[in-house]
Point group: D2
Chain length 437, copies 4
């Protein structure tokens, strides 16, 4: 007789996470949510899109991040409670659920292809739609989680922990991405930040917001600088950008083929992927059930399969783009101080066209048109600190609350309130474009 | 003019690895090898098969491990040279190449499916075949690496560093898997083990072998115990075993369909995957060029795609098995103290058959036959320390060399020389089998 | 007006510990205990005696360890409560206090000099005496902590967490010493061990004891092996042993001088140190208030000051011993397979005596007598697993409890139940003794 | 026969460091230097002065830091050599020696008491004097090390690695102090900074300087911000400041007693400590051999012993100050936005004087005079980035070198070029001074 006494059964399931250690998930709606196909799908979506092709250790997925954000929510709420802001069990579960489901609307390769599939896509909106579906499936168990997610709950500090400049999402992904990339400078003192949070006023009522105690101010400054470093060193690393634009270009080419002949990709695309590549969808369409159904069926696997299959596609340009992606033979990226002149672009296009012909990748007639797949101009941009719409507030010892960039200590932060834009151009290494002056 | 002076060009490419920190790869044949499709393919093969479905942080692939084994080889050779064993630049490159390519013959999901695709498969043999191909492509640049790999080089200690109980492969994978799973007890003092290695006699001639200095003996003991822990706690974790057997069972079912009708899986299998599922291949066949070509084209993507696609296969049993795999709805595993009696198995089979019918997964006629997909009996086995064929040798301060289990300090090791076998049975959680008696 | 609103005051004081991260100490009796001179004195007692002279990073003191043991007690009790064993707030505070005060009776350099100062010393007994004094000072606030410490409390599992083979003391010091020495192999999966503990039966009544769940068995085995490694690699490292015996020998010499003339050490010894060096005290004497008062006044500072001052003592032997200690010019240690014969010892003594004369450290008449300070014979001994008096118990899935060495998995443990003894001899490097033969 | 064959002897001594892992010290002049009393003395000087009284894990000493700086020098030189700047073996040893000996002139408690003992003290000057002495003892073996230290060697980049804003000293102490305090935000990507260093022009000639490659710019920015955080969060933590000023005040009191009666401290001060407390010495005096001799004899032990002994001094004020230091009963520190008015200070002094009388610590006549020991006004100040005298230079991809604050990426750095000053006042917690208003 296999005999498990009731007393042996734990009320928690323990996950072993290299970033946060042991994560305890209570065996209630939270554990049920983890078991859903929607959450399991996150195991097949890489956190950093193609970042692992530059940082070989960073092969982690959205699934671990979702668990991590939930774990940090536990810590944050426990800290607030210690400081006199009451949190009910129901609120705690709802806030954890909201933190966990926050990114459930991400598509294959996270941000890379989102606009390829749905114009004007914002993953937060899809996350919300999927939460609504889950809520129906679980008979309203996510009512409160949705309110917190939407920011309509009467205690708004919960929403801030789910979505703001210091939310659990950001704290987890920075710590996690730093851990897996090995970029130690990006490591953030998550524990200290959480320990110096309070709801102010402490009751946690309708006018209460998350503030940072004065002693946490340097940790916050460090967090903003570390995040900025992660953006330029990892998320917007130029080889990451190169791979990202290569993948988008390949799918642009595929969309072109499909527009001409919907059978063109037979055997290369899963039915759900085909759905997105043959329909023109916009953000509003995520309210359609068929759109959501197909969306939940695609992940990195569909994209990778498509790329691998198209390596043998008769269109030599497409085949070459896919081979470059799979074999990691990316374009070179050069950041530009000034936008290139029209003449400059023309001249580059000519040279690439000539190279395509010489390599047999294109006949002369289409060469200049095809060259657009091999000369990609765009820019990366990043705002280190958002002090207007979503600022960080600091509570000093005298009880005064000030916006971070207004404090004497955070002198550096005020210089980070502007968007930094870096234009760039991608082109084949084999073509020696001469840049600049 | 984009202007990069020669002086700016480094002789190394730096990889940022969370496990070993910065890894310097010299820009010679080693960097060229990393760029090959064969090596890049390892980015699509998870190191732990399906281990990441139990340890959510462990999503790392064979690619990082290959780099890591190479990096440890650098350290090991540098340590030996410090201790008076000369190593030439050519030998160093060859040994690093051999360490890096050691696992290049792994198939999708590492060990899980190898026998499904090729009977009697041993990945080392395929690694060797692929090294031979690469050697041709690189005009003999891997001649020495192959000799070292084969153990035919005149300085046999190089082979030991590539393939033995203390080789760079094992040192890296234990450290790496411990890091990514978060199972800290499995962490191994790789640095100390490498620092206490010597070639003895130190010249490194034909009779010279790798030995461990006496002061390293506890580190070795700890390594063996940690490795054992990793086997039982991670590699042979019962949920890992459950997922592993589920995947094999699904492919067994697929093979059955294909045997009856080779078109049955249309749109679900890539051509190369189909090649392995429709041919009966044995280890000898890896010498065939077509086998190798198809082998290099399959990775985790093909398998995952197939599982996802078959979730909608008309065979409800197959569809259910695939859904279970994708949604991580694995069977329960119970370890058995004794093998079940024939009657016991019959009774279990009946119950599962009845359950299949009740669930509409099978009609009554085929129910007992189908039950075999839902009642899997097998065993796991592990040998902690191999003292007969591949022993560790210790050099004490008096210059005497002894086999590890013969030393006074390593008292625990002698108790680890026997294979531990644990029989188990997998079955659906929904069916309450009563075990034991 | 400096204005601190009540709401700003936290109920916890946070310590930042590199080993366990943030440690929260509630602002009750626990925080008051930390502020006592007895606890602050632990800041001046190195955890590893003279271990830092071999492992330069390991300069940590008993103070951090006391905090750490308290922090682990918090975790352990919280885990037990999660598993259905109720723990009251009063019990929790008492158990934390007991864990924190457990080592408060340690003298200068931890174990090194304890028998030099008090014959038959056992620091646990002194810890208890000091707890009793503190209890008086705090009006009985430690009544329950003392019961738990003594093992007389009606729920005996608390005592086990304070004092047993898996107590918080050991878990903290192994983790901590591994961290500070950099001996990563000694790192122990403290989190996992604590997570797999339960009180069984779970109510935590008089017959309930701490057991380890079956899934924790490999972690326990690893813990025992790691602990064994720490003993031989760190605590009983031969250079540590050399420094330890040098310090004891110097104090033996000092005791000799003081026996002849109590003024002999004027200006070298603090009054309280002198108290211990001029009185012959035994364990029973720790009940005397004057003994305890003087004991609480001595720490590493007194010992170090004495050694430094005696470097200029007119006794050249004493001055040389002290110089050797301060300048870390230790004796050589050789482990012996057999005890040396009487003739061997005589011969060594002659050689050392001759060397002392040649160096001008002794006149010929006293040379053989003085040689005893330069030829120290002793042994180190360690028992890896105590299965008789203080065993670890494992709870398997069927609800059966077994002693660890009786489980099938812990095959290695049964080989660790015997005391390992290693005899050694210390002597000046400058004298080339020939050993063995 | 104890038999150690020549081949067994390693050319390196390995230190196990928790921060950098294994540190290899070649068995040449470097190992001999480590064995000198001057270096061993650093084992008795805490790195953070009294920082360990606030960060309980940070009990590390100058000794580990000296080893660490040497280890980083090995890494830095090896990196420069990899990038084409030749470094001879002699230069390497000299540079390592200079890095190791850089801080050898630190006195007890590092910076805390330096001006108490010698007016206008600068530890670098004493380090140099001691290096000169060592050079004589080792027959000129440190000639080159001294040149590098002085900046007179013909290849000035060596001096920069020993003394500049990015020298090995700073890189090690930030990493080390972050490690031991547990303030993870202060952790600095030392490996990355060293990997992105080059000598430019690369030959390493007289006009060649250390520059940072453009890709390292964010790591440098992060380093500057982390360093700033460490200053405010650790080095200038207000409780650290409180303990620091308490210790200085106690020694001021002692100096007063000694000025009146040189026998007043009998039995409390070591002879060498007394030498510094009874003589008025200035920086020029460090050229005197007797000053250096006494300096090398004092360390934290002498200071701690003095504090402990003076707890029982008849001067109740002194006894109270020492008790406060030993029992960690520090003053409260309040940072002030404005300097207090003369009236404010007068009023505070009155209140403290009254309190001293009420506590029996002072008679009424001397109460206002004594109050100066209990009301300490001073300020802390820190300059985050020194861009004028000692700037960091960045080499971009076009070969242009620019000062860090002039680069587009390091926007935050330009805001850090001014000294931040924070005035504060220390006073007994028991006296409720009203501040501000």
């Amino acid at each position: 007789m296999l005999h498990v006494t009731q007393s042996m059964v734990s009320r928690f399931k323990i996950f072993c996470d290299p970033v946060h250690g042991f994560i305890s998930v209570p065996k209630n709606i939270l554990m049920e949510l983890i078991g859903t196909p929607e959450m399991q799908r996150l195991r097949r979506i890489r956190q950093l899109g193609i970042g692992h092709l530059v940082f070989p250790g960073a092969e982690h997925t959205r699934f671990g991040h979702a668990l991590g954000a939930m774990a940090l929510m536990q810590d944050a709420l426990s800290n607030l409670a210690d400081k006199g802001t009451p949190v009910s069990s129901e609120e705690s579960i709802a806030a954890q659920a909201a933190a966990m489901l926050h990114d459930i609307g991400h598509g294959p390769f996270s941000h890379v292809l989102e606009h390829t599939f749905i114009e004007g896509y914002r993953h937060e909106n899809m996350s919300r739609e999927l939460m609504v579906s889950l809520n129906e499936r679980f008979d309203g168990a996510l009512d409160l989680a949705l309110k917190i997610f939407d920011g309509t709950y009467e205690r708004p500090f919960f929403h801030q922990l789910v979505s703001s400049q210091l939310d659990m999402d950001r704290l987890d992904f920075l710590r996690r991405d730093s851990f897996y990339t090995g970029v130690v400078e990006g490591d953030v003192g998550v524990e200290r930040i959480i320990k110096t949070m309070r709801a102010h006023p402490q009751g946690g009522g309708p006018d209460s917001r998350i503030v940072i105690e004065a002693k946490g101010i340097y940790a916050i400054e460090n967090y903003i600088i570390s995040r900025r470093l992660m953006y330029w060193q990892v998320y917007l690393h130029k080889t990451v950008v190169a791979g990202d634009r290569l993948l988008r270009t390949a799918f642009g080419r595929i969309r072109g083929h499909l527009a001409r002949d919907s059978k063109n990709l037979d055997g290369c695309c899963s039915p759900s992927l085909l759905f997105f590549l043959t329909n023109h969808l916009t953000l509003d369409d995520i309210r359609r059930e068929d759109v959501r159904k197909h969306f939940c069926r695609i992940d990195d696997v569909d994209v990778m399969y498509c790329m691998k299959a198209c390596m043998r596609h008769p269109d030599r340009i497409l085949a070459d783009l896919c081979r470059r992606f799979i074999e990691r033979d990316f374009f070179r990226v050069t950041f530009l101080s000034d936008l290139p002149s029209k003449e400059q672009v023309e001249e580059w296009t000519d040279r690439i066209a000539a190279w395509l012909v010489s390599k047999g990748l294109s006949d002369a007639a289409c060469a200049r048109e095809n060259a657009h797949c091999y000369l990609i101009r765009d820019d990366t941009r990043h705002l280190a600190y958002e002090h207007v719409r979503d600022s960080v507030h600091v509570l000093d010892r005298s009880g005064t609350v000030r916006e971070l960039s207004q404090t004497a200590e955070a002198t550096t932060v005020s210089s980070l309130g502007e968007v930094v834009v870096k234009p760039f151009v991608c082109y084949p290494k084999e073509v020696g474009l001469e840049m600049g002056g």
